[in-house]
Symmetry: C2
Subunit: 396 residues, 2 copies
């Protein structure tokens, strides 16, 4: 007599997960080095050695009862203080520790942000292409996720469709820039226009529409790309951050909610997060990991490899005839498939040991995602596989 | 326009938290050493040094991309395997890794267990005195928590009241043995009788009523005390475990769900937990912490101090005229207050720098909780404060 809703979810398999399993299986046959596995967004560069040094020092020098003791439900005070100071310095926004709530990665941050500002039955609007887990992050709180169709020429915002979707039932808008899966960074023009529309609509509705800004790729922006800080353009912005990508720590489940101090109810929202946690069983990330990242706030893994990989793939795939909007950040690229059904296209690619993800579940059929967080040497070797794939299947 | 429900929760302060703050404030005035702070269940003995050695070895010898990479959503396979083997060996129940789901402590485990087997609007029955956070663990899933009044003579189960409360709407029974706050361990007779009633009622209802067995104090059982393994008595048992108390790691947020392999849908429940996580933003505990506890499954902190403290307090407080059911485990004791209103009693105790918690929020008015996870030397010094308190206030 288990709960049917969750049992039913088991039959809906994740496309990405299934492809990853296929890649692993194929790897056992021909060696994983020979499988061009572009399926998963798992970072490919290690955390800086300093992170391990910090943990060892904490283990050696801190009273274990303090180090491993219950932290405040907001997160460890000195960690929140350090995060606030770093954000304030970098983005020139007067964050204090009262605006910071420590979470289990961006997923944990989103779970709190959504519940804090949207009632069950209200709408949160996001923009295709989008990370498919948003369906669960938003739906899990009983809130409706509405998806604005993509502007496939630029992967900026399709404002016409967006304005038509805004209503009195809109509690928030959820954006992800730099974007998974497109790799696109929203421009200053885009963010300014979004902020203007939301200010106007909030006034019309007599209630603030929030922006939830999901920013795990904030530190992975390529040379010369305009990457505006969303919170500078719109007061009612709640940032959901994760150290998973910037420090290559996805398994450690560490991130935070940062509420713009100019936001109405800023401090209240952070306190509310401690109440939300009680009902979801969250209760803070690991105390050792909290303390360790607090000393790594101005550091990142060696992220430049992602830009190197992007440039190789963009140049070579464009030559092979792919239409691609050039990524401005992340470790994703989002080309148009060479036939209408991207699932068929990606199925065929598997024959050439290329593991690509069709974008139907990202709300953008006809496109596919390349997660190029792999060794550059392998990226280079994959070009020949792409060439064979395209020539054999599409230039017969 | 934040969500009112969570905003309203901010005004309902936690009695325990408030008392802990008072204890800290008083500590600043007279030195914390002179405050007999019995308010919080924070362990007072450190994790074994081996835990730190294991973490250091993991940091030194594991590929950081593997060590800190995304783990499977069930938890790291080798960790689940180790947990299953340890449980199977210790309790002679054929657990396999398919029965284990890694969580952020017992709170995370309960959040998953409740959602897996109770639909919103159904009932979960628990027994006073009970841990007040159960209201949130259960209510946060939209499920009703029903509380059976205490049998204050033994703090075993009040079966008459329990049977009257069982209905077709009962999805599960939530027990906590050894118990917070009473310190009582349910006897074999109690567990057997509970199992018999549930088997009969499940057959009558045509649906299985589950036991959710919250077992963070499983390893803290005193000499000679009968402490039966619940899962051996009832197939449909889901254990929620935490390493917070046994290894003194509450801040690391690490525990698991262990579904009795004899349970109907055992493997399905564990898979369902991965789906539940997606909606609550949980997504696994820290990978380093998972791997480290996997090597500590047969170890505990030096827990004997709690029995030492219990014996001192039980003997001395009984002499002072307190009525106490002698604890069989945990680090809690649950005497009857010396006047009807335990809140007034505990307020008076503060004048003697004794920080005690009135049990109204535990569903048992007229009693108070002593959390004796403090240094034994301090426990001894506190006896004089208890004597002064009792003589001055109640033997005038």
């Amino acid at each position: 007599m288990v709960v049917q809703k969750f049992k039913d979810m088991l039959s809906a398999k994740s496309v990405i997960r299934e492809l990853s399993v296929k890649a692993t299986q194929r790897g056992k046959e021909i060696g994983y080095d020979n499988v061009f596995d572009y399926s998963l967004g798992n970072p490919s560069v290690p955390v800086p050695k300093k992170f391990h040094d910090v943990i060892k020092r904490l283990l050696d020098e801190t009273d274990p009862l303090m180090l491993h003791g219950y932290s405040e439900s907001h997160g460890i005070a000195e960690v929140r203080q350090a995060v606030a100071e770093s954000l304030a310095r970098r983005f020139d926004i007067p964050y204090t520790m009262d605006d910071i709530f420590m979470t289990s990665g961006a997923a944990g941050a989103m779970a709190h942000a959504v519940r804090a500002i949207a009632n069950p039955g209200e709408d949160i609007i996001t923009f295709a292409p989008y990370f498919p887990e948003y369906n669960h992050y938003v739906g899990g709180a009983g809130v409706n996720l509405k998806v604005v169709p993509a502007d496939t020429t630029s992967f900026q915002i399709n404002f016409e469709a967006f304005e038509a979707m805004l209503s009195e039932n809109t509690a928030a808008v959820l954006i992800n820039t730099p974007n998974n899966p497109s790799g696109i960074v929203y421009s200053t023009e885009t963010i300014q226009k979004l902020a203007d529309i939301l200010k106007k609509k909030s006034a019309e509705n007599g209630r603030d529409i929030y922006i939830i800004s999901d920013e795990p790729y904030r530190e992975i922006v390529f040379e010369g790309v305009d990457s505006p800080c969303v919170s500078k353009f719109y007061d009612n912005t709640i940032v959901c951050y994760s150290f998973s990508k910037s420090l290559s720590l996805p398994g450690e489940r560490i991130g935070y909610v940062a509420v713009n101090p100019a936001c109405e109810d800023a401090e209240t929202i952070v306190h509310m997060c401690t109440q939300i946690s009680r009902g979801t069983g969250h209760n803070c990330p690991s105390s050792v990991i909290q303390l360790a990242v607090a000393e790594m706030l101005e550091e990142t893994a060696e992220l430049s490899v992602y830009e190197t990989n992007m440039n190789i793939l963009y140049e070579e795939l464009t030559k092979l005839g792919f239409e691609i909007v050039k990524p401005g950040g992340t470790f994703y690229m989002f080309p148009k498939a060479l036939e209408e059904d991207a699932k068929v296209f990606c199925e065929k690619a598997l024959k050439y040991d290329l593991v690509l993800v069709p974008a139907d579940s990202f709300g953008c059929p006809g496109f596919f995602r390349i997660a190029y967080c792999v060794q550059t040497e392998k990226v280079k070797r994959s070009i020949e596989a792409f060439r064979k794939f395209v020539e054999t299947e599409y230039h017969k």
